[in-house]
């Protein structure tokens, strides 16, 4: 019963009725000769159905937004929600049926509705960005009203305490993030770049047919898998054969563990991006260099790579932004202790780890210890956004150069 009277079901029922009625009306207006109509009868029907559904949907979005933003929930009577959906639907119904005359250009009208739908769909991207920024800005303001922003950005101590009196300095987290990302890039950039160069300039077809997909498989593996690999295999390996013998640490989770594994994760990313970029360098430049008597490696080092350098830098920046935002590998491989230290065999923590740990479990959305996660998230967003925009500008400018 409730299903039949729900606004959604009513709207759909109305839409079906509108389709059928408009079609009927158009046919009867044509006195049986559909050729005299301005559009096919089905176009009348489609137009009428869309005239019901789209206004109702817009009404639904508006009332949902309003009831979410309203200071008190009681301000929105449940009945008014129904009205907001049904009134536009009925108006659309009546309007579309009334318009279904012989000379009404129903196809153009229905296509206008469809275009509106398409535009609305592409607007979701903008809405998502707005949603991301506002959801974090709002709570970050809340956080800074309870905790001084200078302490957040410049304090070197991180020790949240749910009984209050916490130190929430971002510096140790940022240090861990950058340190791990640096090690990851140290692994991924040379390996990724050299494999891209080798596979595109030296390798034979059989080698390429095997190695290229193998490297791409690395890109398709979920990060949780890398995380567990770090936790169970790489971490203990590094501890037993590296850290303990030279006496630098005895923790399985460490900056080096997370960095190495993250580096492996980034190899396909760097290599496929640089592969595209190296292939975009015109063959004529290579031929010119080889024609002058340069060896292949000299051509690559002195002609191809310098020509592709802006693109490669862009690729590295994108990889860096990936590394900074990576979560599962560091959650499982890097540890939870916030520490400012140079020793790569010690456990450190990152911004993303702390976002997860502050927002999972029982959380109280008025405590600064929870809200700090939003400030951390905003910092992370701004940081990665800056890197992405920079990389996109560089890559785009580079592409134009050779097109």
């Amino acid at each position: 019963m409730t299903l039949i009277t729900s606004p959604l079901a009513l709207t759909l029922l109305l839409a079906v009725a509108a389709y059928w009625l408009a079609k009927r009306r158009a046919i009867s207006a044509a006195k049986g000769d559909v050729r005299s109509l301005a559009a096919l009868p089905t176009a009348y029907g489609t137009n009428a159905a869309l005239s019901v559904v789209i206004p109702a949907f817009v009404g639904f979005i508006l009332i949902s937004l309003y009831s979410g933003l309203a200071p008190r929930a009681e301000d929105v009577a449940p009945l008014s929600k129904t009205w907001f959906i049904l009134v536009p639907a009925v108006l659309g119904f009546v309007g579309a049926i009334a318009l279904s005359t012989k000379d009404f250009r129903a196809r153009t009208a229905s296509e206008r509705w469809i275009l509106a739908l398409l535009m609305g769909a592409s607007g979701v991207a903008i809405l998502t960005t707005i949603g991301i920024v506002f959801s974090m800005l709002f709570e970050t303001f809340n956080f800074f009203s309870q905790y001084s922003w200078t302490d957040f950005f410049f304090s070197t101590k991180w020790s949240p305490n749910f009984r209050g009196d916490s130190d929430l300095g971002i510096l140790p987290l940022l240090w861990g993030t950058l340190y791990i990302s640096f090690i990851a890039l140290l692994v991924a950039v040379p390996i990724g770049l050299f494999s891209a160069v080798y596979l595109s300039e030296y390798a034979g077809p059989r080698m390429r047919a095997f190695a290229k997909p193998a490297i791409e498989v690395l890109a398709g593996i979920p990060t949780i898998v890398y995380g567990l690999f770090a936790l169970v295999t790489v971490g203990p390996l590094l501890r037993d054969y590296f850290a303990q013998p030279i006496g630098l640490g005895d923790s399985a989770s460490s900056v080096l563990t997370a960095g190495l594994v993250m580096g492996v994760m980034l190899i396909p990313f760097v290599s496929s991006l640089s592969d595209d970029i190296i292939n975009a360098v015109p063959q004529a430049m290579r031929d010119g260099s080889l024609g002058l008597g340069a060896t292949k490696s000299e051509t690559i080092r002195q002609v191809v790579v310098p020509a592709a350098l802006p693109g490669i830098v862009g690729a590295i920046l994108l990889a860096a932004s990936r590394a900074i935002g990576e979560t599962m590998i560091v959650v499982l491989g890097a540890g939870a202790a916030a520490r400012l230290s140079l020793n790569p065999l010690e456990a450190m923590t990152t911004v993303t780890v702390k976002i997860v740990s502050q927002l999972t479990g029982d959380t109280d959305f008025s405590a600064p210890e929870t809200l700090v996660a939003f400030a951390l998230g905003l910092t992370l967003f701004v940081l990665t956004l800056g890197l992405n925009v920079l990389a996109l500008i560089i890559v785009r400018r580079y592409r134009e150069q050779y097109e």
Partner: protein, 441 residues
């Protein structure tokens, strides 16, 4: 610097050429090393997953004969499951204990262990399993049934090499003597290790009983989320791509949308989790841990991927198709929906499957919307299931890594194998579709 060998023979390399050729082969060796290193990393990763995780699909079971006395299970004698349900799982534990002792005696296995210690051979889940079986078939009461029960996680670990006599001596949950009894049972064929479907179908289990933990709820939750993602991201992504590729005028709004999409593709996934927590849970009031919310978050995350690949598919349809449609009097909209879209469909489908595969493996955003919770109940089959609490495959993996018992690590790797098999199938499907339907113009 003088080149003494400048006038040397073409057939003998001079020092400088030798140097350059050495540099060349060095460079080549670096490249080869890099390729080998990355392929090696892949093999190490896969080897580590397989060696740690294959065991999770095998489980040790013990077969014992259990007497089901009427005076303990059904005093009323009417065999009504509702009345018999009053006997809780604790009422079944002594029956299993007695059955085990009897079975040992019948097999001629002598031990000085107490009956209570011997119960450590069997999973703590066993009484519930027995109760379930009896309630499903009340006529069993009064008979003696042979039942295959899960062995305890430590015993299972012993047969898989994870638990040894030495480690058992230090373990308060088991002892070397118990392991010897288990070995004798195995020698008599009463204890066997075989393929365990329960790993794929059962729900998660508590810390104390890793042997009965399964992926059922997680697989169902992931399935629900993928349905949400498919139902939302595909139409939205295709609609947005059609607009941008076919209709959008060249103005600042279009530019803004394009910049937004390329940036959203590179936003860290955890940020989407924060978005989901703030908008869908705190603002819109949707329930925590629900596949619906997870699906919504993953939809927003995969949307850029789908839009980018759909636009590429639309772009690869040659303009002559559009021109031909327009030429015979189709409207712009008709040319797109009747001609361009069907031709681009294989490419769109391939991109969508790859986007779904990406969403299936994503963990971080789901942690923030409460999907780490311990869920033992299957979500409802049907519409209500989308708002029931559930977990997802990658989150279940994370969850198991946080447990103390090492048996859960094996299960986490087993779950990874399951996840990778799903991903493999999806990618193979995408490759198959591309091969089969791809058209070169």
């Amino acid at each position: 610097m003088s080149y003494q060998s400048r006038h040397g023979s073409l057939l003998t390399e001079d020092a400088r050429t030798r140097k350059r050729n050495r540099a060349e082969s060095r460079f080549k060796a670096y490249g080869l090393t890099a390729v080998i290193a990355s392929v090696l990393a892949l093999f190490m990763l896969l080897a580590s997953i397989l060696s740690n995780g294959l065991g999770a699909f095998q489980q040790t079971f013990v077969t014992i004969n259990i007497a089901l006395p009427e005076d303990k299970l059904d005093k009323s004698g009417v065999r009504d499951p509702e009345v018999m349900a009053k006997v809780s799982t604790f009422g079944y534990t002594p029956l299993i204990r007695d059955g085990l002792v009897q079975t040992l005696a019948n097999a001629g296995i002598e031990t000085d262990q107490s009956a209570k210690a011997l119960l450590g051979l069997i999973s703590k889940e066993a009484p519930a399993a027995l109760r379930y079986r009896v309630l499903a078939n009340p006529d069993l009461v009064g008979q003696t049934v042979s039942m295959e029960l899960l062995a305890n996680g430590r015993i299972d670990g012993f047969f898989k090499g994870r638990v040894t006599m030495e480690s058992a001596a230090l373990d308060k949950n088991t002892s070397p003597e118990i392991l010897q009894v288990a070995q004798q049972l195995a020698d008599d064929g009463l204890m066997t290790t075989r393929f365990n479907w329960g790993f794929l179908t059962k729900p998660d289990a508590s810390d104390q009983r890793p042997e009965s933990a399964g992926l059922g709820v997680a697989i169902l939750g992931s399935l629900y989320m993928m349905i949400v993602v498919l139902a939302l991201a595909l139409p939205l992504g295709v609609a947005a791509s059609i607009y941008l590729e076919e209709f959008a005028p060249n103005n600042w709004i279009t530019d803004l949308i394009e910049v937004n999409i390329s940036n959203l593709a590179a936003v860290p996934s955890i940020v989407y989790g924060i978005l989901g927590l703030a908008i869908f849970i705190n603002f819109a009031g949707l329930p925590q841990s629900a596949p619906l919310v997870g699906g919504l978050v993953l939809t927003l995350m995969t949307l850029p991927t789908i839009i980018i690949s759909t636009r590429a598919a639309l772009k690869s349809v040659p303009p002559s198709i559009r021109d031909a449609a327009l030429g015979v009097g189709a409207s712009k909209m008709q040319s797109v929906f009747h001609h361009v879209l069907p031709l681009a469909a294989p490419g769109i489908l391939t991109g969508t499957i790859i986007g779904l595969a990406q969403a299936l493996g994503e963990t971080a955003p789901l942690l923030l919307i409460g999907m780490v919770a311990f869920v033992k109940e299957y979500p409802e089959i049907g519409i209500e299931g989308f708002t029931d609490p559930a977990t997802a495959l990658p989150v279940q993996i994370f969850n198991w890594t946080q447990r103390a018992d090492p048996a859960f690590v094996e299960r986490a790797f087993g779950a990874i194998i399951t996840l990778l098999v799903f991903l493999l199938f999806m990618n193979l499907l995408a490759i198959f579709l591309r091969r089969k339907f791809e058209r070169r113009w």
